[in-house]
């Protein structure tokens, strides 16, 4: 009985963390799905978001949940500028050149964090950290619940943006058929910049949520990049629901692996899952179209 409870506890914890993972992966998925550019600096952008939220809390006592909209807006502008300024000329270049460009950006971002904040772990600590909600015998950390709810809300906003607004629909049109989008007169370069902005805003918001759960250090960046890749491949690259469900799946599998095996083995589980999905269902568990 004790074990069943611990198991249920681990699964709910995994689901809650998985929502934030999902939001992070959503940013990667949106960028890849539209531009076919693989953002190798994704985890680095996430870590910058975590540091900014931490900074807001340290300097002004602003809760990361409150500073989140400002961070998202800032990241949208930065992502827009990055795409418009640096990445656009690389859109039709070979993959390895895009890889090198984003790698250089990643190295810059993570080391600016290292220079400014140092290698030590930085966390947000407040009384609210110890609050919890009880559902029957299950005890849920309040911060995790808040982070998961916020992630769901942001994903909902994103969904509304892509299905209800003119810009969102145009972006999807450009993703479906680049040439036709040009033919009907869409400003594809601007849409691409907008997309990178939206993707960056997503991952920046995910960073602000993640800092309430996990303390940040610069070396997390590469881990998050890999994790985001694992999630979107498992869920299906370019699929929004796939990214969210993939996030949940990886969150739960990490939590369960940490409970049943050693915590240090948890990512082996995720990578094993990644290999299986790549081989058996490369379009992802929840992706409709075959991956190419």
């Amino acid at each position: 009985m004790d074990f069943a409870l611990a198991f249920a506890q681990a699964i709910t914890k995994g689901l809650l963390t998985g929502m934030v993972y999902g939001l992070m992966a959503l940013g990667l998925s949106v960028i890849f799905g539209v531009m076919r550019v693989v953002n190798f600096a994704h985890g680095e952008i996430m870590v910058v978001g975590m540091y900014l939220a931490w900074l807001g809390f340290e300097l002004a006592g602003v809760s990361p949940l409150v500073s989140l909209p400002a961070i998202a807006l800032l990241f949208f502008a930065a992502g827009y500028a990055l795409q418009a300024g640096l990445i656009t000329p690389f859109i039709n270049r070979p993959e390895h050149q895009q890889f090198l460009l984003l790698l250089a950006i990643a190295i810059l971002l993570v080391n600016v964090c290292l220079v400014l904040a140092g290698p030590d772990a930085r966390g947000v600590q407040s009384e609210a950290m110890f609050d919890s909600y009880a559902i029957g015998p299950l005890v849920l950390d309040a911060v995790r619940v808040h982070a998961a709810l916020a992630a769901i809300a942001i994903a909902g906003l994103l969904w509304a943006f892509f299905t209800r607004t003119r810009t969102g629909k145009s972006i999807r049109a450009a993703a479906d058929n680049h040439m036709s989008a040009l033919v009907v007169g869409l400003d594809v370069r601007r849409l691409y910049a907008f997309t990178f902005g939206v993707g960056s805003a997503c991952v920046g918001a995910a960073g602000a949520l993640m800092i309430t759960i996990v303390p940040v250090n610069p070396f997390l960046a590469a881990e998050y990049t890999l994790l985001a890749f694992v999630i979107v491949i498992v869920g299906g690259l370019g699929s929004m629901t796939g990214a969210l469900l993939g996030g949940l799946l990886i969150g739960v599998s990490e939590a369960v692996a940490g409970l049943l095996l050693q915590p240090s083995l948890k990512s082996m589980f995720s990578f094993g899952l990644l290999i299986l999905v790549l081989l058996l269902r490369p379009q992802g568990l929840f992706g409709g179209k075959a991956g190419t």
């Binding site: 270049r93 080391n111 290999i275």
Partner: protein, 333 residues
């Protein structure tokens, strides 16, 4: 005669003269280089060698691997483990190391190519295998687990049979490997297999259609590349005398391997060499510049900026541009 023609055919006399001068310089270098300069030269040769190995897959056959640390790590761990546990020297251990790395390469290749994963998807598969192995080695006590594996350092002893000795020994070992890989790559490129690889790189479907055995050619590419990378791993393990899963199989190690050929010029024979000189030179320069400031990360910022400048300014690599400047472009290419 025909081998000689294969090796130097198409090169201008000027290019051959420059190449001979470079080789003479490299052979004589330990006689006049100080310990620091020698260690930098060793680093350059290491990256040139391992870059050449990676270039076979990406530059020739067009398969992007971001998990080459897997083969270097396996090679290093197996040779070092055999020496550490059973006293088996690296000359024998290298054969086992290469065999295991080739097997690993064939598994990755078979799975990837059978299911026709390409581009980013194949790259992610290679990363996944490398990461998977890293965590496995973290928990494998024979290999020392996460605490690492250490080889005994005997000062002043030169024992070529067990690859124990000073910097000069390791310099010549890596020089022989680098020159050997260069010659091998040249011969491969001139062979039928090399032409097949280039056809696959340019358009795999068209190559298949005209009867190129695409799957087999890709498998040979990954096997040769893994074998050479494993040798680099063996050399690396005995040069540094320590191995940790966190570094040996790290994604950073894999990325390091890809940089010299990409920066130098993908698919060219001199690209990995020029790239290794540029990257190592930059690394050392920035270390010197930032050393007295004692700010960790500053060196990497310079490094990132330099990469950014290179990829924007010379996206096809430094070598094609440099070759034009030196007047040593090959005829008929």
């Amino acid at each position: 005669m025909s081998i000689v023609r294969l090796l130097i055919g198409g090169a201008t006399p000027r290019a051959l003269a420059l190449l001979a001068a470079l080789l003479a310089f490299l052979v004589a270098a330990p006689a006049f280089l100080g310990p620091y300069a020698l260690s930098v030269a060793i680093l350059i040769l290491y990256f040139a060698f391992v870059g050449q190995a990676w270039n076979i897959m990406m530059g020739f056959a067009g398969q992007l691997s971001l998990g080459h640390a897997l083969y270097a790590g396996l090679g290093g761990y197996i040779a070092a483990g055999l020496f550490f546990h059973y006293g088996i020297g690296p000359w024998v251990g290298a054969f086992v190391a290469v065999a295991v790395a080739v097997l690993a390469g064939c598994i990755v290749g078979y799975l990837g190519f059978r299911f026709s994963l390409a581009g980013v998807y194949f790259a992610l598969l290679t990363i996944a295998f490398s990461e998977f192995t890293r965590i496995a080695f973290d928990h494998w006590t024979w290999a020392g687990g996460s605490g690492g594996l250490f080889l005994k350092v005997q000062g002043g002893v030169t024992d070529i049979l067990n690859l124990r000795g000073g910097a000069t020994l390791f310099y010549y070992a890596i020089l022989i490997l680098a020159v050997g890989a260069f010659v091998l790559c040249r011969l491969l490129l001139e062979s039928r297999l090399g032409r097949y690889w280039l056809a696959i790189r340019e358009d795999a479907e068209a190559a298949q259609a005209v009867g190129v055995p695409v799957f087999r050619c890709k498998m040979i590419a990954i096997a040769i590349s893994a074998a050479l990378t494993a040798l680099a791993g063996v050399w690396n393990a005995f040069y540094y005398n320590n191995l940790f899963p966190e570094t040996a199989f790290a994604m950073g190690r894999s990325i390091e391997i890809t940089l010299a050929p990409i920066i130098g010029g993908l698919g060219t024979l001199f690209g990995p060499i020029v790239g290794a000189v540029v990257l190592t030179g930059m690394g050392e320069l920035f270390t010197d510049l930032t050393e007295h400031l004692k700010i960790s990360g500053l060196k990497q910022i310079f490094y990132g900026l330099a990469l950014l400048v290179i990829v924007i300014w010379r996206p096809a690599g430094v070598w094609p541009w440099l070759a034009k400047r030196l007047g040593v472009e090959e005829r008929g290419r």
